[in-house]
Assembly symmetry: C2
Homo-oligomer: 430 residues x 2
């Protein structure tokens, strides 16, 4: 294993605290994947005395982000404080000292990105920013690396969870915009001043970052025309539904005649469009490539923990680059502490279709078999067609072993002509 | 720009030819992103004399894949020939000569993966395989890099396009399995011998590869229990529909008590599950991480062009590693040859909601405005509520400029009380 990578974290809010906890809780896995330990040595905070849910010595907390960026016991910097200054100055100072930076700061990238990327290139260091768009969704790396061989024709993204939550409530519950906004605020999905979300400013910053990668063209937030959703009424939602559409706020970037168009506005999407079923506060970006066709990336676009996963993914990449490790990461067999388990003991719900003779007592005989094997039945339907009937059952969760024993014994009942199908049932949404 | 990366391609079928074409057609973009040109110097083919839709000198074609792997004018090897031998031997020979390999060969990885990864590690070279699962969908890199800081709890994937196409036909058209299979064969989605697809063998190989990454545990195809879909009947599909489910063939890997379970079988998914709306031959994998929550990656899971994009993405990563380039890839401003264009000239369809006085002649006055600005109306609805009425219009595609002029003039009609909403309409599925 290589040397320890010492991290200075700028900001200890939601995301910063989640990054520190993740590096601590998953330390062993992260060390294996990074080729060495990753350790937080310094944290810049606004109030040094505040109690925080992270296990670091109190000496690690300092109040000057620039001092953290310059500290000799910091090898790389994680900037999760937000805003333009002092984040910008701290990042530039880190570059000057030959330190790479991981940032989640969309506002800064969409305003001063060009300056920062040029400074990183001049210093020969990295500026990584997976967490700046789409929280925990892998977006920057797939666009920049996996799809690097293709030409992007268009991206269409639901990149703001607040407005998607509001539009979902308006669509599914018939709420008005003010009521849906109030509910979003109550649940913590919207801030007290919701302007940046509902007027599309947040989405415009993300559109600028995505467009910069997708089209190799520096796009800043002020270049992105935007419309918000505060004026959308229940009658628009209702008409959209009647016409087969769903209203979503989207960030669009597309190659058009003469150049590239980047913009944020509400749009009516056909109900069968892949983005139409992205509900609640989830985010998703549909990327259309010339050769690859449509690719969609979906997940939680905000929140401390999901965003921290993206930050730590970038940190692991930096650690591997420092250690000059090759990309192949599959550990040789025997290193893993887990093993494969067989299906037999795993619990699942099952759907069972049987063809039976339409005679009294059939259902009782079937029910008895399930009782004997301690498999409980959730629902059952019987449908007659002349002499024959179909019985469909859905079980509660039962072990594969018990279910197989049931199926075997069901086949022995003389009024059961066939156990035609057995299919596992997924319980619900993840 | 750096040195040329010289590529030997093993196999010139669907994927091989697409890789060669992609490297040629997008050469300029790829060179910029890779830090130097990537050039195909040798291609191993079965019949040297066959005509091929690729522009390479005939001397580039040779019939021995091992010779290509060992050729002095080949720096890295792309293996897209499939099967175990001679692909395995050629890859091992490439490693022995210090050459990294990009492969799309799921069968080989899911059978001899452990041997290959150990050989690559011993030789200090890379074995990259984004294309081996999910065709053009970024899956390996997001799992291995973006989510490397998290612990994967579970993945559930629709990873076989043939069976997903068949199940879509059965669900949407009420087809029987044999009829849906015959249609899939007619369209080229299924092979003449469909066993590997419909019995879940192909999905099991992909499940093994994904599980190996997700759980740091070497899983081979023979470790994966599987059930196919050939026995599923129209009555199962119909019952599933009535109960609120859709039947899909899925590859599942999950952390369970005592270890990891990996398997392939049909499952009933609730209709609101993110995988339930993955239709036709599309693939998608839902990954659930401890911290990141659900992440879904969706796209074309097969086909020459999408798969070639994944292969070339891996090649660009290798080229950058050879050139020891840093990860930051945003070009400084001015290098891009495109520019941002304004919304004004862009065409779109529009939905317009107006509140009007319910009097004769209103609609005629409105229609006249659209005619004057050469914006044509696709559909129109009028609904009265006492003295007031609502008119909803959907236009054909029109430039933003013309639409804005319409909206301005509509507001001048004295029977139009308000143009309440204007929302762009997305034409259809990508």
């Amino acid at each position: 294993m290589g040397n320890t990578l010492r991290v200075g974290v700028l900001g200890c809010g939601n995301v910063g605290a989640a990054v520190i906890r993740l590096l601590h809780d998953h330390a062993e896995d992260i060390e294996r994947r990074a080729g060495g330990p990753i350790e937080v040595t310094r944290v810049a905070v606004r109030e040094r005395s505040r109690a925080r849910d992270v296990s670091l010595p109190s000496g690690a907390f300092v109040d000057d982000p620039v001092a953290v960026a310059e500290a000799p016991d910091v090898d790389v910097v994680v900037e999760v404080m937000g805003g333009i200054e002092p984040a910008r100055t701290a990042i530039l100072r880190a570059f000057e000292r030959g330190k790479s930076v991981v940032t989640a700061n969309k506002e800064l990238l969409a305003t001063r990105g060009t300056e920062l990327f040029e400074a990183a290139a001049a210093a020969g260091v990295d500026l990584l920013y997976e967490a700046s768009v789409g929280g925990g969704i892998p977006l920057v790396r797939p666009l920049r690396e996996s799809l690097a061989g293709d030409r992007i024709i268009r991206f269409t993204g639901i990149v703001n969870g607040t407005t998607n939550y509001i539009l979902t409530r308006m669509t599914e519950d018939g709420s008005s915009f003010p009521d849906a906004l109030a509910e979003a605020q109550r649940l913590g999905y919207a801030e007290r001043d919701p302007t940046a979300d509902v007027e599309g400013v947040d989405a415009a910053a993300k559109a600028a970052i995505l467009a910069t990668i997708a089209f190799d063209l520096p796009v800043m937030v002020d270049d992105v025309p935007r419309e918000g959703i505060s004026w959308i009424g229940p009658e628009d939602i209702a008409f959209a539904g009647r016409l087969g559409y769903v209203i979503k706020l989207v960030a669009i970037g597309e190659a058009v005649e003469g150049g590239v168009s980047v913009r944020v506005h509400p749009v009516m999407l056909p109900k069968e469009h892949p983005l139409a079923s992205v509900r609640e506060s989830f985010n998703a970006v549909l990327i259309e490539g010339e050769k690859v066709g449509p690719v969609m990336l979906y997940g939680r676009g905000a929140g401390g923990d999901p965003t921290a996963v993206s930050v730590v993914g970038d940190l692991i990449e930096l650690a591997r680059a420092e250690a000059a490790l090759r990309a192949t990461m599959i550990p040789p067999p025997g290193r893993a502490t887990r093993s494969l388990v067989s299906l037999e003991g795993l619990p699942a719900q099952y759907y069972i279709l049987m063809r039976v003779a339409d005679r009294p007592g059939v259902l009782a005989a079937i029910a008895l078999v399930f009782t004997e094997h301690l498999v409980s039945i959730k629902s059952v339907w019987q449908e007659g067609h002349g002499d024959e009937a179909q019985i469909v059952l859905i079980t509660h969760r039962a072990a594969e072993r018990a279910l197989q024993a049931c199926v075997r014994d069901l086949g022995l009942i003389d009024t059961v002509e066939a156990v035609a199908s057995v299919i596992r049932v997924e319980a619900g949404q993840p």
